[in-house]
């Protein structure tokens, strides 16, 4: 049996090493995406619906932040969380929490920018309809979130997919400690360098399937043209 066959066997037999890595990866990346969405939502509401000077400039800043290389965020997170760093006392470096934080920072601009785009797609008349009911900004925001819900979910999912595939940064702040901070990507990198291709391949196949699943989900979240034409 070649490495590919053994990889399929690892998946088929639900090998505990595979399950552990996949579980940690999913947990960490979901948490990171959720954290990014939590902070991105108010930012996007302000940037997408608010009317204040400097709004366009701030939106440009958010878009620019998307271009920051992940490895740079990894470096900054390392310095902040590492011993001697401002948050060094928390002892987060080389823990899943560190990965979550770094990935959330990485996903935040992307998720926020997509959130802003989602809010911009909301017909302003819908928000005016809420205003004319005599509602304050809180209710206008609720109306916008409800109307944009599928697009917001898609944005969160995109953020999740982005951090799930992140490798270098995750390795820098997580340390790729087996059984503790090994994610799918860092495990693939490490196993490949060790020459242990079957586990790397198994995780690679699963990562590919996950990405595919996310993309299929995104496809279903896209507004359908027949619904738009009404």
């Amino acid at each position: 049996m070649g490495p590919f066959g053994r990889a399929l066997e690892l998946i088929g037999t639900l090998d505990p090493r595979v399950l552990e890595v996949v579980g940690l990866s999913l947990g960490v990346s979901l948490a990171a995406a959720a954290l990014a969405a939590l902070f991105g939502l108010p930012t996007a509401l302000a940037l997408g619906l608010g009317r204040f000077p400097g709004r366009r400039a701030l939106r440009a800043v958010v878009r620019a932040l998307m271009m920051v290389p992940a490895v740079l965020i990894g470096l900054l997170a390392y310095l902040v969380l590492g011993r001697g760093g401002p948050l060094g006392a928390l002892g987060l470096l080389y823990t899943p929490a560190a990965i979550v934080l770094a990935q959330a920072v990485l996903a935040y601009p992307l998720v926020t920018a997509l959130f802003v785009a989602a809010f911009e797609q909301v017909d302003p008349l819908l928000l005016d309809a809420t205003r004319t009911a005599g509602a304050g900004p809180w209710w206008v925001a609720r109306a916008a979130v409800r109307q944009a819900a599928p697009a917001l979910f898609a944005a969160g999912l995109t953020g999740f997919a982005r951090v799930l595939g992140e490798t270098g940064m995750t390795m820098m702040v997580g340390g790729n400690i087996a059984g503790e901070t090994r994610t799918m990507t860092t495990a693939i990198a490490a196993e490949t360098m060790r020459g242990a291709f079957e586990l790397a391949l198994a995780l690679g196949i699963l990562l590919l399937l996950l990405s595919l699943a996310v993309n299929v989900a995104l496809l279903f979240l896209e507004p359908r043209s027949d619904a738009r034409a009404r």
């Binding site: 819908l126 309809a129 004319t132 009911a133 005599g134 819900a149 009404r230």
Partner: protein, 364 residues
């Protein structure tokens, strides 16, 4: 609620920047149906948005019961609860019809126990029973408009602003909506502002009519007075006065004449100088021969065309040239029976006759 607008102005951001309203003044004395009549693009929606306190004017001020609620400095958020605008599109959020009404009531701060009772009175009049729990993307455009109207009505605001509430509705839906508006007017609790380009609808529903053109209220007041006695050429044209000309009124001793290139009419006027003359086609008679009558104006010419216009027939005549300028065409409205009895047809000679008092002289 009394609504008073003084010198309202509103310029829409470009490009291109467009001054939609300028120096608009309006006084709605209280409950009843007030129509804002105007052509497409005359600024009706812009005006309603100002009255709903959704936008701030860039000039002038707005008062609700004497209290200043909007000016260039902004709008009073608190006063916004006194007005509700129902848009010319449904503007319903994702969810069911009932959920949408509930959401608006929750946003308004209406307690949960009161909400069903707020919606209930409008379900049957607007025919919403069958679609109340339907998702808004599963109902027709007409149903959605009625649902949006129910949402506005359930809020129970003192000032209800309706933007073209029956435009694009089928006759059945439009009928339901009109009946609800008529009932609101009869109850005299709500100040209803009905923006419409539908003249017949304004006549049917409104006690007061305010005609909006060129960014201001050109003429307003009692519906019959406005619609039957236009004082501006813009309104005369909107009302479909067929014969509308610009010229000058001159004194000829015992009477006045309105003159324009190819036109020399006897009129009754207290004014002199440049103005518009409006002559409704229904006030013009058609004769085969020069009539002997008390009418001061008679013009001979050739019938150019005879066209059906709803219940009447419009006879368009090209007058024989009298002076150096060719005379403009004139129209007379007659019944179909008259056309048949007189055998009126294009190419024939005929006389048009009207009284000096039928000519309205308008500023502008």
């Amino acid at each position: 609620m009394r609504v008073r607008a003084d010198g309202l102005g509103r310029t829409l951001a470009g490009p291109p920047r467009r001054r939609v309203l300028g120096d608009l003044s309006l006084d709605l004395p209280g409950p009843g149906v007030h129509a804002v009549l105007g052509a497409n693009g005359s600024g009706k929606t812009t005006l309603l948005r100002l009255l709903a306190l959704l936008d701030a004017p860039d000039a002038g001020e707005l008062r609700f019961d004497g209290e200043r609620v909007a000016g260039p400095e902004g709008v009073s958020r608190r006063a916004r609860r006194r007005a509700t605008l129902v848009f010319d599109r449904p503007a319903l959020l994702r969810g069911t019809v009932r959920w949408n009404v509930e959401f608006a009531l929750r946003a308004r701060g209406v307690p949960a126990t009161e909400r069903p009772a707020r919606l209930a009175p409008w379900i049957e009049p607007l025919g919403l029973g069958p679609i109340l729990d339907a998702r808004v993307d599963r109902i027709s455009a007409g149903e959605a408009r009625r649902a949006a109207l129910a949402r506005g009505l359930a809020l129970g605001s003192e000032l209800l602003l309706l933007d073209e509430p029956t435009a694009n509705l089928d006759p059945l839906s439009a009928g339901l909506v009109e009946r609800v508006i008529a009932d609101l007017g009869a109850r005299r609790e709500t100040t209803v502002v009905l923006a419409t380009h539908d003249l017949a609808q304004a006549r049917r529903l409104a006690g007061q009519v305010h005609f909006l053109a060129e960014g201001r209220i050109v003429q307003g007041g009692d519906a019959a007075a406005v619609l039957d006695a236009p004082r501006s050429p813009a309104l005369a044209e909107f009302l479909g006065v067929e014969n509308l000309f610009r010229g000058v009124v001159e004194d000829r001793g015992d009477h006045q004449r309105f003159t324009a290139p190819g036109i020399d009419w006897a009129v009754i006027a207290e004014r002199r100088g440049p103005c518009w003359a409006a002559l409704p086609a229904r006030d013009v008679l058609v004769a085969r021969e020069r009539p002997v009558s008390s009418a001061m104006n008679a013009v001979e010419g050739t019938i150019e065309r005879v066209e059906e216009r709803g219940p009447t027939v419009l006879v368009v005549l090209t007058p024989a040239a009298t002076g150096d300028a060719p005379a403009p065409r004139l129209a007379a409205a007659v019944t179909r029976a008259t056309v048949q009895a007189m055998g009126l047809a294009p190419g024939q000679r005929a006389w048009l006759v009207w009284k000096a008092a039928s000519v309205r002289l308008l500023d502008g």
